[in-house]
């Protein structure tokens, strides 16, 4: 229903619940009395009273991709089976899938990938928004719903009025006040709105504009969209740099820890991706701005975060390969898709082994101590009494220093420079990017955006160059391993050869684009964009 009026929340004493044994009984007395003379009346359904209990599960990705796209996915299970409904924020239906009758047992279990759903509009729409992420339950509730029909003076049903008593069971137990919702029958929106207005005016009834999910999350003490891969730290120019960096590191630690359970359970590849980004940001920030922390802290934790980074690398490298495999397969010209299946199997086996090692590392005492000790050290740093340097001064000096290093490293790269020189430049660019992100709250958004955009273009090119270089080297190593296993058909190795040729072409293309992109970045205008950040700060 496009123009659904907001839900109404009667206070406990406002619109009392009907007697438990309501069958064909009239609507509750208070509502009936208040509606008398309005031309509307509430009666039970065509087939008698309708009271149902449904289990509701709201689903989204860990980083709230559906919520951010203005969508809500809800799984409703009742006596009739299970239904998955994708709606817009205003409740408008987008797509749905039902699992009833014989299909009841095929209702998907969560967490899971949307490709577990039957092919159709729902699976299609979800895949386009969710991408590689898994869908996880973000809230669960049980609803005791009582539905009545609202009649006009022709005794025609103009709306359905539901009273929903919801008990939240996840992420925390909570009880919501009863919610009334008025759903207009088609063609009777005006009358339904008038009825909603009358109900809203009843003593003790308040209007709740929030969608059900938001009300459920609020009752359970959570907020939709409370995680994203971005660093959300609010710094001020004059705050002590040590306090600022403690705040940055604490946020990064929170992001790292938030992704640990999903990485261990291997729910989707993005948990590990975000975990690694948190580790890399932490390592870069320690290297470039960690000097403001109390003496000895940087030296103590740098090796530990390197260990953590190294622990995560094998699985992520294999993820990148496996995620890119369908695209590589689609580009085959000489070989057949099926030829690559043994290669895919080899990658999946290798990934399985790497993932077990990774999960073991994340469950280890070493990792537990790292997180605990790091948090303690940051708490200590946050309580610093040193006023200097300020956050603004630290941001300006560290960004300027890394920017200089990027310019120096890039200026010496020629068409014949070894790949290592481009790899090194890529690392410097990443460091600059992380600093820009960490100190973003000190800069005017438009100036920050322009600087990041140009850097991003250069990073993409360097990333393509290095990824293809690493993948070619890995492909050679895989081929050797597979030959040693003596089970690989010749056509698989030939197909892998074709992939290697494709990677070489992509690498050459990236290299040919580099000079132009770096020239733009190093031009006076490009330098000015970064320089503007080191001069200007927003307090």
């Amino acid at each position: 229903m496009p123009d659904a009026p907001p839900d109404l929340v009667p206070e406990a004493a406002g619109v009392p619940a009907p007697p438990d044994a309501l069958t064909d009984a009239p609507p509750d007395a208070l509502t009936a009395a208040k509606l008398s003379g309005s031309g509307f009346s509430l009666v039970n359904g065509v087939h008698g009273a309708r009271r149902t209990t449904i289990r509701r599960t709201w689903l989204d990705t860990f980083d709230w991709r559906l919520y951010r796209a203005g969508l809500t996915l809800e799984q409703v299970t009742g006596r009739g089976g299970t239904e998955l409904r994708l709606t817009g924020r205003d409740g408008t239906g987008v797509a749905a899938e039902q699992f009833q009758g014989a299909a009841r047992g095929r209702a998907p279990r969560w967490p899971g990938q949307p490709d577990a759903l039957p092919a159709g509009p729902l699976a299609e729409r979800l895949a386009s928004v969710v991408g590689v992420r898994a869908l996880l339950p973000v809230a669960r509730a049980t609803s005791a719903v009582r539905e009545q029909r609202a009649l006009n003076d022709d005794a025609k049903t103009i709306a359905r009025v539901t009273a929903d008593q919801m008990s939240v069971t996840y992420p925390a137990a909570a009880q919501l006040p009863e919610r009334l919702a008025v759903s207009a029958v088609r063609g009777y929106q005006a009358q339904a709105s008038r009825l909603a207005g009358l109900l809203a005016a009843l003593p003790g009834v308040t209007t709740d504009e929030r969608p059900a999910l938001e009300a459920v999350l609020a009752a359970a003490g959570r907020r939709a969209g409370d995680y994203s891969g971005r660093i959300d730290v609010q710094l001020t120019a004059g705050m002590p740099a040590a306090t600022a960096m403690a705040s940055v590191f604490t946020t990064l630690l929170g992001m790292l820890e938030a992704n640990v359970p999903g990485t261990i359970s291997d729910l989707d590849t993005e948990f590990l991706h975000d975990l690694r980004v948190s580790v890399r940001r932490t390592r870069s920030a320690l290297k470039l701005a960690g000097q403001v922390l109390p003496r000895g802290v940087r030296a103590r934790f740098q090796p530990e975060f390197k260990w953590l980074g190294d622990l995560t690398t094998p699985t992520r490298d294999l993820d990148v390969y496996l995620l890119g495999l369908p695209d590589m397969t689609a580009r085959l010209v000489g070989a057949d898709e099926a030829d690559l299946e043994p290669f895919g199997d080899h990658l999946r086996r290798a990934r399985g082994r790497a993932q077990r090692e990774l999960a073991g590392g994340l469950r280890s005492a070493r990792f537990g101590h790292l997180c605990r000790d790091w948090r303690d050290a940051l708490d200590e740093a946050a309580a610093t009494t040193r006023r200097r340097p300020t956050a603004e001064a630290l941001a300006a000096s560290s960004i300027a220093a890394v920017h200089r290093r990027v310019l120096t490293s890039g200026a010496v790269i020629t068409a014949v420079s070894p790949p290592e020189s481009l790899h090194d430049l890529r690392k410097r660019c990443k460091e600059l990017r992380y600093l820009l992100e960490i100190f973003a709250s000190l800069h005017a958004p438009s100036v920050q955006w322009r600087a990041v955009q140009e850097l991003k273009g250069l990073q993409d090119c360097l990333g393509e160059f290095q990824d293809t270089d690493v993948q070619r080297a890995e492909l050679r190593a895989f081929a050797v391993q597979m030959m040693d296993e003596r089970r690989t058909p010749a056509q698989t190795l030939l197909a892998m050869g074709e992939i290697a040729a494709g990677l070489a072409r992509r690498q050459r293309r990236a290299r040919s684009q580099f000079a132009g992109l770096f020239a733009d970045f190093a031009s006076p205008a490009g330098r000015a964009r970064i320089a503007a950040l080191t001069r200007q700060a927003v307090s």
Partner: protein, 258 residues
């Protein structure tokens, strides 16, 4: 989207009762149903307690100045919507006469509703006119209720001949005997013999039952207010035949979870 039409040149033979009950049964099977009450008398609209009024009247609908889906009203039953009657429908012939390709006009008006409805039922006024011709061109299945007399069978033959002259799409005819009086020997005889002899006849016959007349008091389909009655059972059998004739499966999709 399958389009059914209840049609007979004569009035009072059970067209509206059939349209209303089959519409309800189709909706109960999970089909998304639109019933268009084309009769200016508005009997189907009355039975669903919907005021027989369309903003802009029949002219606005036929000329397309008001989209058809703006005029649609939900009934009291899930999946069943109604496009109400309007007194101006009495002039639909004249309005159609002024339209381009009048015989195809209803079909083109209904075409945009394909994604919204699985079944459309046209409840036609008793006449033979430009409107009925447009209905015959739009329909996939023509439901023809007949009183069991020799004369009404002759009328059916005339209709069959008329449709036989169509170029392109032709509706299938599903005639059935309606308002059978079990006490009349002629009724019983014709009702038994003809369906066995002719492929365009349904095996189901709808008896004359006071419960069917009761619909105007209850203002609901008999299949809804008395689902286990003989009348409801007969309409269910007729719907099963009509559904099969249109190539629809017994259940469209499961209803919403409850």
């Amino acid at each position: 989207m399958k389009i059914f039409a209840t049609y007979n040149i004569k009035g009072g033979v059970g067209k509206t009762s059939t349209a209303v009950n089959l519409g309800y049964l189709a909706a109960r099977d999970g089909y998304r149903v639109l019933l268009w009450d084309l009769d200016p008398q508005g009997a189907a609209s009355f039975l669903f307690r919907i005021r027989p009024r369309v903003k802009g009247g029949g002219k606005a609908l036929i000329r397309g100045t008001r989209p058809v889906d703006d005029a649609i009203k939900g009934t009291d039953f899930e999946n069943l919507d109604l496009l109400p009657a309007d007194f101006t429908y009495r002039n639909l012939d004249l309005i159609l006469d002024g339209a381009k390709k009048p015989a195809r006009r209803l079909a083109s008006l209904l075409a945009p509703l394909r994604s919204e409805y699985d079944v459309v039922i046209l409840d036609c006024p008793p006449s033979i006119s430009l409107l009925s011709e447009s209905v015959l061109h739009a329909a996939d299945v023509l439901l023809v209720p007949l009183i069991p007399t020799t004369l009404s069978v002759r009328t059916l033959d005339q209709l069959t001949d008329f449709i036989g002259g169509f170029t392109g799409k032709r509706p299938q005819i599903l005639a059935f005997f309606s308002m059978i009086d079990q006490r009349k020997r002629l009724h019983k005889q014709i009702a038994q013999e003809l369906p066995a002899q002719r492929a365009d006849f349904a095996a189901t016959v709808i008896p004359a039952l006071s419960l069917i007349e009761q619909m105007s008091v209850e203002r609901a389909p008999v299949t809804a207010f008395s689902p286990r009655s003989q009348a409801a059972r007969r309409y269910s059998e007729l719907w099963a035949e009509a559904r099969a004739r249109a190539g629809l499966s017994p259940s469209a999709r499961p209803g919403p979870a409850d």
